[in-house]
């Protein structure tokens, strides 16, 4: 039982790390109905920029600020160069654009900062804490707290401010949004910048765990099933989806793994997600697509 | 008792529980609350306003409006001055309204909005005094006969004089048109109404903690007896929905503990619930049937309560309902049974003649006797 709880808690905490990445997708999907393939690259790019600055002796918070500004600049550039010319194109076109974007960002990141692996210490010890006979990682708890604060911030931003309602308006109907005087470009720019910020936070936490290296862009693989379960449009859904995926994949790996052969962690979340798709196409929290007959 | 009148009871609550919420109404999507004290003060102003218009003892104030707080306040103000309130149901057909207005030939009318003002002006004497609640569309009307409720309140200073109403006087008069297009009238005296109200309060153990919903006009005797009168005797909170169309949504937001509805009300609610139920033979349908079985074991009832009954009761805003009253014609047995499976035991109240028998049957379902005594004491002291 204790072991079960330990696996479960570990899974839940790991799940929050997935949620962190998934939220980045949710933001952009909400604003433009586009699955942003480049989110993983943004995670990589931000972490790489941050750690490279740090290694060049720039203080922590200055590096953070500079990286954030870089991400905002990136958002601005993306809005100008990619999104603006593609207004009112079908989502698949925009998706392809983000696909290309991911290669560009990855390429630029490696050209700028090189391909080597960097260690990243955020100053949080990863020594396990023993709580009631269970080992819990301090770092995981820290990540969970960070994810919590981030979600709080985002829900304040998107539920309590005009940006939030404008964002939903833009996602819903661009023509109508223009008619009520919403500046499409500005909303996109803001959303991409926020997605960049989320990418930065995810990049730092994942970077501290994996080392800052190219594989960071692969953490999106874990975000996909989370999105399928939690829905593409709900930040809360991304959190719950992350928790479900994290807990179930760990439990499956530990208890099911020995029976059907190890290494099921990679595909199990997708199977789970598929089952969810069959039952509820819009995920747990996603808005149900409403089509007028 | 000499001053067993509606206005006196209002004064009573304003003095013993001035800060408690007397009325709650929804306006522009937001609930507004009014305490007993503030209610008394506003009625005090209305009394002066009516007095200034020449309203006096024995006069009739006709109220042509959907349920709204202004109508209730004006009724009480009219009674304060020893007058009679005559609420008309605005959903009546146009020619019935016209017939009633012409019959009554009123001097004082409260009309809700443009439509009711039009009806009044078309069927009344030249010197009619009309107070209206909604000014929309009325800006172009000749203002001599028309007074805006809010505007009158604004310009009238707060004052308070003693009520001149008497217990044996008529408080309300209900007019209706029968099949032969004859007008019938029924009078309700202060003491009679209050007596009926007290009976209900006693039998149903009503307290000042109830939340009642006034979703209909007080143009039916049942509503005067079993909603208005208990409100004044028990001193609970009366809630007005935003308008007649939003009443179901508003009821859900409120979750009233006391509802006085007609057969139509309950049948509409029943259809709302039935819409949510799954097809009987489907898996979920069977699950619902299983969970709703009255003779189930503890687990089954637990499951039924949390998974089915509670959510369904929530659909119609009956999550906190304690006293669902049926006024007027009886419900079909099927419907009564259906509500019973949801844990809603509807009580039929009609005339004073048969309250005794009914109250004995209903009192059995109530959990504790102790509370009742306290409430009864309060009432005795108060009266």
């Amino acid at each position: 039982m204790e072991f079960f709880l330990e696996v479960l808690t570990g899974g839940l905490l790991a799940g929050l790390m997935y949620s962190l990445v998934a939220i980045g997708f949710v933001l952009i999907y909400k604003a433009s109905g586009v699955f942003n393939f480049a989110q993983g690259s943004m995670v990589l790019f931000s972490a790489l920029t941050f750690v490279s600055l740090l290694e060049r002796g720039v203080p922590f918070w200055v590096s953070f600020a500079v990286t954030l500004l870089t991400m905002i600049a990136l958002a601005w550039a993306i809005e100008r160069v990619v999104l603006r010319p593609l207004v009112n194109r079908p989502p698949i076109t925009l998706f392809m654009a983000t696909l290309g974007l991911s290669y560009i960002i990855e390429g630029v990141a490696q050209a700028m900062w090189g391909a080597q692996v960097h260690g990243l210490e955020l100053g949080i010890s990863d020594a396990p804490l023993e709580i009631g006979g269970m080992l819990l990682s301090q770092f995981d708890l820290f990540s969970a707290a960070t994810a919590g604060i981030l979600v709080l911030f985002l829900s304040l931003l998107f539920n309590k401010t005009r940006i939030g309602i404008s964002l939903r308006a833009v996602a819903d109907d661009q023509l109508a949004a223009l008619a009520v005087g919403i500046k499409l470009q500005r909303i996109w720019m803001i959303v991409w910048a926020v997605a960049g910020f989320v990418g930065l936070v995810a990049g730092l936490l994942w970077g501290a765990r994996l080392g800052v290296q190219f594989s960071l862009s692969l953490v999106v693989l874990k975000a996909l099933p989370v999105l399928i379960i939690g829905g593409f449009t709900s930040i809360g859904g991304a959190i719950v989806g992350g928790l479900i995926i994290g807990a179930s994949e760990k439990l499956a790996e530990v208890y099911l793994g020995p029976i059907i052969g190890g290494g099921i962690e990679n595909w199990f979340p997708y199977v789970l997600a598929l089952l969810f798709l069959l039952v509820r196409p819009a995920g747990i929290f996603g808005e149900r697509a409403i089509e007028r007959v | 008792m000499a001053n067993d009148t509606l206005p006196h009871w209002l004064i009573h609550h304003a003095s013993i529980q001035p800060k408690r919420v007397a009325l709650r109404h929804k306006h522009l999507g937001i609930w507004h609350e009014q305490s007993w004290k503030s209610l008394r003060s506003e009625i005090g102003q209305l009394v002066d306003i009516l007095d200034k218009l020449g309203f006096g003892r024995g006069d009739t104030l006709v109220l042509l409006t959907h349920p709204r707080r202004e109508a209730l306040l004006l009724s009480l103000a009219a009674q304060w001055l020893g007058g009679i309130a005559a609420p008309l149901d605005p959903s009546l057909e146009d020619d019935h309204v016209a017939l009633l207005l012409r019959y009554l030939n009123p001097v004082f009318v409260f009309a809700e909005g443009q439509r009711q003002v039009d009806q009044t002006l078309a069927n009344s004497r030249q010197d009619v005094n009309v107070i209206y609640a909604e000014d929309r569309g009325l800006s172009a009307y000749p203002q001599t006969a028309l007074q805006h409720y809010a505007e009158l309140l604004r310009i009238t200073p707060a004052a308070s004089r003693a009520p001149v109403a008497e217990a044996g006087q008529s408080a309300f008069a209900l007019y209706r048109v029968n099949g032969e297009r004859n007008v019938q009238v029924e009078h309700f005296h202060h003491d009679e109404l209050l007596e009926e109200g007290r009976h209900l309060v006693f039998a149903e153990r009503l307290s000042q903690h109830e939340e009642a919903l006034a979703a209909r006009v007080f143009a039916a005797s049942g509503h005067l007896r079993y909603l208005l009168s208990p409100w004044l005797t028990a001193g609970f909170t009366l809630n007005f929905p935003e308008n007649i169309a939003t009443r179901d949504a508003d009821r859900r937001e409120l979750g009233p503990t006391l509802v006085a509805g007609t057969r139509e009300t309950y049948q509409r609610l029943e259809s709302l619930v039935r819409e949510r139920l799954p097809v009987p033979n489907s898996l979920t349908g069977r699950l619902v049937t299983y969970a709703l079985r009255a003779d189930g074991d503890v687990f089954q009832r637990f499951l039924g309560y949390w998974l089915v009954k509670r959510p369904l009761r929530d659909v119609i805003g009956f999550s906190r309902i304690r006293v669902p009253l049926l006024i007027g014609p009886a419900l079909p047995v099927d419907s009564l049974q259906f509500f019973k499976t949801l844990g809603i035991h509807i009580r039929t109240w009609d005339k004073v003649a048969n309250w005794r028998t009914l109250s004995t049957t209903t009192s059995r379902q109530l959990p504790s006797v102790h509370d009742t005594d306290v409430e009864a004491d309060n009432i005795t002291k108060a009266s």
Binding site: D126, L210, G211, F214, V254, G257 | -
Partner: protein, 445 residues
């Protein structure tokens, strides 16, 4: 796609090879070409840039210092594979023809996947396929795999050496009985390669082995390490690659398993594997075929002639002397040595792949020769032959002190005698499947 291309490409390959040979003699371009299927972007870019950086720097060094081998200069070109098998094959096809008349000497993909995919082609194209420290174990048997060279160390030797080391630490191989060893392996052909041999060794020595897979890329290992914690093993063998390694070390710390009881294999032994794990990596042990560091004459010389001259290939000069870089240099030394040996037999001119292969099979590096090359202590003594394409089979153990690797053991030899029959059994089975008639190595000279 691939299957459609397969047959004609073999034909075209042979044709172009012939053509390039022809043009080579006509133009008399005095250069030897190395096609480089490198990877400088993608998840494994860190390994690729280090290895190919070292390799190129060594070739550059030979060109600058000695004007090539006997006047034959080296030339090379890169083709980005991103460590993706299909791209690696594409690169192979594009580069095998040589460059401007300079014939290709050998391919060095540094990828098990690409190596497997081009295994058959290398025999058809008569172009040596060098899989230093990795690749297919049974390709050690040169009689069946004439063109494949798992130089220095094949996967079986790796495991055998690690078990020998653990035995040593436990006070003798007989003390292994009852010990618990967990192997955490990368979920790929590379990762799975040694599982049978581990089970065999477990049976032989009586220890208990548990094999736990980490799915690619391995950035989440919570459940695996919780399992390990439940098993409470004496040692964990880490058979990782790329990001899986630092994550393993971090997760081990998180679940309270000591780093100094984790032994990394040959692809879990670089700075890039340990450093990102930060403090969690301190005490981590791994094997290596070559030490890191810059204190070898050959490296000092490369620094002087290549790096200081601004001709180094590394983007970040701090990586000079790291494990991956040094492996690249070692690989360069072995490739160049093969060319040198072959030139001695076939003449001082650019050689064909077939001729270079002969060179590889006749490499003989003893201490004296290594000293001559300035690589004594960097490269292990190596003697290859027709039947033995591995040659060494020895490793040293190193430990991460939080900043760098410290060598903590002398050469530990794999039990090659034990492994040889298994290797041959496997290679003969392969020969049978593919209809290959093994060479008679006693007739090769």
């Amino acid at each position: 796609m691939l299957s459609i291309i397969k047959k004609p490409s073999a034909l075209i390959g042979a044709l172009t090879l012939g053509l390039s040979l022809l043009s080579g003699t006509v133009q008399a371009a005095n250069e030897q070409y190395f096609p480089l299927q490198s990877y400088r972007v993608g998840p494994y870019a860190a390994g690729g840039t280090g290895f190919f950086g070292g390799f190129i720097d060594y070739l550059q060094y030979v060109n600058l210092k000695e004007g090539g081998v006997n006047g034959v200069k080296f030339t090379w070109s890169e083709c980005e594979t991103e460590y993706v098998v299909e791209k690696g094959v594409e690169c192979y096809e594009r580069l095998k023809k040589g460059l401007n008349g300079a014939p290709a000497a050998a391919t060095n993909p540094l990828s098990v996947g690409i190596a497997y995919a081009t295994l058959d082609r290398s025999a058809t194209d008569k172009l040596p396929l060098i899989t230093i420290n990795h690749g297919r174990t049974d390709s050690t048997d040169g009689s069946v795999f004439p063109y494949v060279f798992p130089l220095q160390l094949n996967p079986y030797s790796e495991v055998s050496a690690i078990i020998n080391y653990i035995g040593d630490k436990s006070g003798g191989l007989d003390k292994l009985k009852g010990k618990k060893i967990v192997t955490l392996f990368h979920g790929s052909p590379y990762g799975k390669e040694t599982n049978p041999i581990l089970e065999l060794l477990a049976k032989k020595y009586g220890f208990q082995v548990t094999l736990i897979e980490v799915p690619h890329p391995g950035n989440e290992q919570q459940s695996q390490w919780l399992n390990i914690r439940r098993i409470k093993p004496d040692w964990v063998i880490l058979r990782g690659w790329g990001v899986m390694n630092p994550v393993a070390l971090k997760t081990a710390q998180k679940t309270g398993f000591p780093a100094d009881h984790i032994i990394g294999n040959i692809w879990s032994n670089s700075e890039e594997d340990a450093a990102p794990a930060g403090a969690a990596a301190k005490g981590f042990i791994s094997i290596t075929t070559h030490p890191s560091g810059t204190n070898f004459p050959v490296l000092q010389d490369i620094d002087k002639t290549v790096l200081k001259a601004g001709k180094g290939n590394l983007q970040d000069s701090k990586r000079f002397g790291t494990v991956y870089y040094n492996l690249g240099v070692v690989n360069g030394i072995l490739n160049v040595e093969a060319v040198r040996v072959a030139q001695a037999k076939f003449g001082k001119r650019p050689l064909t792949g077939e001729e270079v292969r002969w060179g590889f099979e006749n490499i003989k590096l003893d201490d004296a020769r290594l000293k001559q090359l300035g690589a004594y202590g960097l490269v292990q003594p190596l003697k290859l032959s027709c039947s033995d394409h591995e040659g060494g089979g020895a490793v040293r153990f190193q430990q991460w002190d939080g900043k760098q690797w410290k060598v903590i053991s002398d050469w530990v030899q794999a039990d090659r005698k034990l492994l040889r029959p298994i290797i041959e059994e496997s290679s003969h089975k392969y020969a049978k499947e593919k209809g290959i008639t093994p060479r008679d190595c006693s007739k090769e000279s």
